[in-house]
């Protein structure tokens, strides 16, 4: 038998994890953007078409970020947007989860509310934002209302579905032991519906971030959406990209935070999901 010399793998193991590959992909993408910009800046098109009014290189964006941060402008805008997000999203949770519960628990409530929910859910928030501005003026409150409208339905509907799809056999267990409806609710319904509710929250985060921007585009005196709009009107792409980047990072972080909450509240669910998807058998 011929001895095969073991070759050292070209890429070390720690670099081959899915996370590292993803990170590398993003870094390479940004690098290409930078190089393309540098290349463009050396051609005559750059001057002829005033490219610097339309595009910014990643390095310029970072530089602008520093300037906006030091001047306090970025923090002020972020603060306003953050407040709108927190108010709107919290209200969406406080309203969406109980109504979802009630609609799932009481058929009659469902009959009354379902057409309303369907209608308002189908209405694009973008279309409601202007009239809300007309009613309530500019400021944090009307913007939070737009965020609320954007976020409440995924939460409400997922809560409803979560409660509706609580496993019948688990309900039977509590009933068989003579458990009360209240015990059934707290010991089976809520824990079994938790994964669905958190999935709703994750959908809602994305919609809430969009709503923050939409609301601020229509009317605001501050906020990241406002900032993006303001600077794009003045053909200053640097601050525009800074605003977008902050929104992206915020969205990703909230999404990841909810993923952590999911793993923390319902660790069993991750396992169940994996088994359903891959048909894994217990050994």
């Amino acid at each position: 038998m011929k001895a095969v010399a073991k070759k050292e793998p070209l890429v070390p193991a720690w670099l081959r994890s899915s996370r590292m590959i993803g990170a590398c992909s993003v870094i390479v993408g940004i690098a290409i953007w930078q190089l393309a910009y540098e290349g463009l800046a050396r051609t005559h098109y750059y001057e002829a078409y005033a490219i610097h009014h339309f595009l910014a290189s990643p390095l310029q964006v970072i530089q602008t970020f520093g300037e906006l941060y030091r001047s306090g402008e970025l923090l002020r805008h972020s603060y306003f947007s953050f407040l709108e997000f927190v108010y709107g999203f919290s209200l969406a949770i406080v309203v969406g989860i109980p109504i979802g519960f009630m609609m799932a628990a009481q058929k009659k409530i469902n009959y009354y509310l379902d057409p309303w929910v369907s209608c308002i859910y189908a209405t694009p928030t973008v279309a409601l934002a202007p009239i809300i501005m007309v009613w309530f003026g500019l400021g944090i409150f009307p913007n939070s209302l737009v965020v609320f409208l954007g976020a409440v339905f995924p939460i409400l509907l997922n809560t409803y579905t979560g409660i509706k799809s609580v496993r019948e056999n688990l309900v039977d267990v509590v009933r068989a032991f003579g458990g009360s409806p209240l015990q059934l609710f707290f010991k089976v319904m809520i824990p079994d519906a938790t994964p669905a509710i958190i999935a709703g929250l994750r959908l809602a985060v994305g919609r809430a971030v969009i709503s923050v921007v939409v609301a601020e585009l229509f009317g605001a005196e501050a906020g990241l959406g406002f900032m993006v709009y303001f600077y794009s009107q003045r053909f200053l792409p640097g601050p525009v990209f800074v605003g977008i980047a902050v929104l992206v990072v915020f969205g990703i972080l909230s999404f990841m935070a909810l993923e952590k909450v999911q793993g923390w509240l319902s660790p069993w669910y991750t396992y169940q999901l994996r088994r359903e998807v891959h048909g894994m058998e217990m050994e």
Partner: protein, 271 residues
């Protein structure tokens, strides 16, 4: 049979479901009567779809019946409660609770303190052979171990009667045999009255003092077969002549019933 000293008496039980396909109703069973003695182990067999599980759920009070009476210690059963322990077919463990916390569920629902309940649970964990697995979650257990938890959860409330709904049906053949032998051991220690539904004739005979054989739907009792094999029974009794003769006998009845119901379904155009 002396019914006054009986643990559980079923008198003239009748149940029908509203039909989904046509007007009217489907008779599930009718005129079911029998009495179970204290500490007796009863198995219930019958052709598939004859309503064994429905019958057991009615005994527990999980679903209502139309007519007749069920008496546990002379008192009518109207709703589920801790006087009956139900062992479900799929283990139905709460996936967010550990083995320990699944087992104490029944006590908890009755308002017992967690600490006190956990202390009591240790005995039952040992009884079903799960010592060392107290803090495991259901998904970390094999099917056989999940059913042990299921059993301990029913036993801990100290029920008057244990209702078992094909608890070993989803286990592989080897695990099932082991679980049968262990169930007998546990039964011997706890001396509970047991009603055990199964579709496996061999399992029914091995476990029971008497085997109640249901007919095809609408079900009635075809025969109650007394199993005179002395206890304790080792797994090898399953190969004894006496056992095989009994199995043949029960098989004969069920085969007859299955053929009858197939003939009827053919007439009704189902098959």
């Amino acid at each position: 049979m002396e019914t006054s000293a009986a643990k559980l008496v079923v008198q003239n039980l009748r149940k029908s479901f509203r039909s989904q396909r046509s007007e009217g109703s489907i008779q599930v069973f009718e005129g079911i009567s029998f009495a179970v003695q204290p500490s007796e182990f009863i198995s219930l067999v019958g052709p598939s779809g004859c309503g064994k599980t429905t019958f057991l759920r009615i005994l527990d009070g999980l679903i209502p019946h139309d007519d007749g009476e069920i008496l546990l210690d002379g008192k009518t059963i109207i709703k589920p409660g801790p006087d009956k322990g139900f062992v479900f077919q799929d283990s139905s463990l709460l996936p967010w609770r550990t083995v320990m916390d699944n087992i104490i569920l029944g006590l908890e629902l009755q308002g017992a303190g967690k600490r006190e309940a956990r202390k009591k649970a240790e005995r039952y964990i040992a009884l079903v052979g799960l010592a060392g697995f107290e803090h495991h979650y259901p998904h970390e257990l094999s099917g056989g171990m999940q059913q042990r938890v299921n059993l301990a959860r029913a036993l801990i409330v100290d029920p008057q009667v244990l209702l078992m709904d094909e608890p070993f049906a989803s286990l592989d053949a080897q695990t099932r045999e082991i679980m049968q032998a262990e169930l007998l051991k546990m039964w011997n220690q706890t001396k509970k009255t047991v009603i055990f539904v199964t579709h496996q004739i061999e399992e029914a005979l091995y476990l029971a003092d008497r085997v109640v054989v249901f007919s095809a739907r609408p079900a009635s009792i075809r025969e109650i077969v007394k199993v005179g094999i002395p206890r304790p029974r080792s797994l090898s009794v399953k190969r004894s002549k006496e056992f095989l003769d009994l199995a043949d006998h029960v098989w004969g009845i069920i085969q007859e019933e299955v053929l009858k119901s197939m003939g009827r379904e053919r007439e009704e155009g189902v098959l």
